[in-house]
Symmetry: C2
Subunit: 374 residues, 2 copies
């Protein structure tokens, strides 16, 4: 094992965090927090894990390393106004409404061009806008290490999460040998990616100790991203370059014309599974993608009966129940392990252990043409 | 056993139904249908068992025997306007707002005076306004028989219900010997009354076959009622006579002044347990006092999964659940045997087998000073 000082050539940035740019992916439109989440108010704009929305928390969490002036938000047109309202400190031109949903690869490419144009040695941190991280200090420490390590041209660094259960809904990163150590943090080689494994495999991964959850957090130089696009996605790279030549993220007419022509593909499939020189750090940062109401329940503090209930409620012989009701007074009597969510026009009552199926119910509403409930 | 013809003296009315007057007790203010039922909209004004409210159904059910012109409604001031709106065919002066809740005895006395003044040989049928009767034809048949039998001065006739379970929340009528048979219907002597027995006793009553549920339905001549008041409640009888002398139910100022001075006591305690010459018919009329949301569930028709749900709802893997939601779209996922009731300002989610405790929750709201939810 080489000592880390030998793995970082002298050409790397001496203060990589000082030239780091955040690329926050805020275009998600999940259905699993229905009826609170809607097309016009997806998970990242909910303040269930307050204070503030998950998006605001994401921006605030990195502020000590990457200030709003170097933060970019990518979202979609429906959310643009609300995102801008929530983030007055992020320059308006750095909040980008994608004219079509094209998954993560096109967004990362677009951002890399913008950042490389602004700073040829600029570093890029890609972060989802809708995750919870309960240990922000530890997160920033890992981020700084990752930035330092990724400041060498050609390297890609993933912030992976130590798996806590055999989750079948996540992607896994299979770790190889330790490449080095930096600031007391082990940097692993990445051997391969495993998308949403069956339960038996997931269990094996967790027990082996050599897998991490892939939380969609990437660190690299913008120039490395662009080079990787040219190598792995030459067609997309050409269109991305063409967009950049015609104004990039600052020209909404260019975006409207060319962005929808890009292939709809994730950064994992487009680049990560094809490139070499990928590394991962194993972060223990209290991460959760809050994928369902059941997780929202877990993340909130409970009363003596294990209920998460607002002040305008009364529980009689009820246990383990999450109540979200901004306006109505809610009374529960003799119920257990429910999720009860009430909004202006809809009400959800679900068994907590069925919360992952709320999305299916929403699909049914869609099928029935109940657009205004979506 | 004497043949019934011998038990009816020739002085009885030849067409008692023709001089029958209904006295409908619509002053109840239950809490067990919260949040749909409120102080201003108690059970008798709910249309959960439609078409129409329970009050309307009560009036309509007897119409073929007792038309609205001979129907009286006793309610309280808060409900007067709504009752009058629902029953345009009942003469307005026959809808009486009691200035205070005094239980059933004072109401029955007041009504007896009014009816006796209108028709000295008038018959009186006392009926609660908030019960369900699914066999109205059978009910009317029993009513006619009861009227015929009770047309002899001095007799009191109860319409009792064949008990279907060892219910501890009801009063029971203990039957004596069969006094006679009329129109093929056995008329029983009443031996005694048992109020809300413990479970073991209730079970014994049901198994014995010699008890009926007391559903609060009485038939007698108005003159018999007045005579019984004079005998058993001489003080109340004097005040009732005084009210009648000063305008009776037609003088709201008299009612306001004197009605609240009457003792708060049920007709059962005031008269029934003291008088002789009481009879009962055992009615099999699909009766229910719909005492809780659980009963409301039982009385409604269900879908294939045993759910009672409105059209604006969607159930995924849910069973045995009652949903009442006039406005919101309701989605249930993976829940069983719940009662979900949503109104403008409140939401109830209860286990169906805990539905009888909804009243306790409402008491707690009262204790907390949440008056506008009551």
């Amino acid at each position: 094992m080489k000592p880390p000082s030998q793995t970082i050539p002298s050409s790397a940035n001496t203060n990589p965090a000082g030239r780091a740019y955040a690329v926050i992916m805020a275009g998600g439109s999940g259905t699993r927090f229905w009826p609170l989440s809607r097309k016009s108010r997806p998970k990242q704009l909910l303040d269930l894990f307050g204070p503030g929305t998950l998006l605001e928390q994401t921006v605030d969490r990195i502020r000590a390393i990457i200030p709003p002036e170097r933060t970019y938000i990518f979202t979609h047109a429906l959310l643009l106004k609300e995102v801008a309202r929530l983030l007055p400190n992020v320059p308006r031109e750095q909040i980008v409404a994608e004219p079509a949903s094209r998954n993560t690869a096109p967004t990362v490419g677009l951002a890399a061009h913008e950042i490389a144009a602004r700073d040829p040695e600029g570093m890029m941190v890609v972060l989802p806008a809708d995750h919870v991280i309960t240990k922000p200090v530890e997160f920033r420490r890992v981020l700084k290490t990752g930035l330092k390590f990724a400041s060498v041209e050609g390297r890609s660094v993933l912030v992976g999460l130590k798996p806590r259960r055999p989750e079948t809904g996540y992607g896994y990163i299979r770790l190889g040998a330790v490449s080095g150590e930096l600031d007391g943090e082990k940097i692993f080689m990445v051997r391969e990616f495993k998308e949403k494994p069956p339960f038996s495999a997931a269990r094996r991964y967790v027990l082996s100790g050599s897998y991490l959850w892939n939380g969609g957090m990437f660190i690299w130089r913008a120039s490395t991203v662009l080079r990787n696009f040219e190598r792995c996605q030459p067609e997309m790279a050409r269109t991305l370059a063409s967009i950049q030549d015609q104004g990039g993220i600052r020209s909404s007419s260019t975006l409207k014309r060319l962005f929808p022509t890009l292939e709809k593909i994730s950064i994992d499939y487009a680049l990560m599974e094809k490139i070499k020189d990928i590394y991962a750090v194993a972060a223990d940062i209290g991460w959760s993608d809050v994928g369902s109401w059941a997780v929202a329940y877990e993340l909130n503090s409970k009363d003596g009966d294990g209920n998460v209930v607002p002040p305008n409620s009364f529980s009689l012989r009820s246990k383990g129940t999450l109540v979200v009701s901004p306006k109505k007074f809610v009374v529960t009597v003799g119920v257990e392990n429910l999720v009860i969510v009430e909004t202006e026009d809809a009400l959800l009552v679900a068994a907590r252990n069925s919360a992952q199926d709320v999305g299916k119910a929403v699909q049914e509403l869609d099928r029935r043409g109940l657009k205004k409930l979506l």
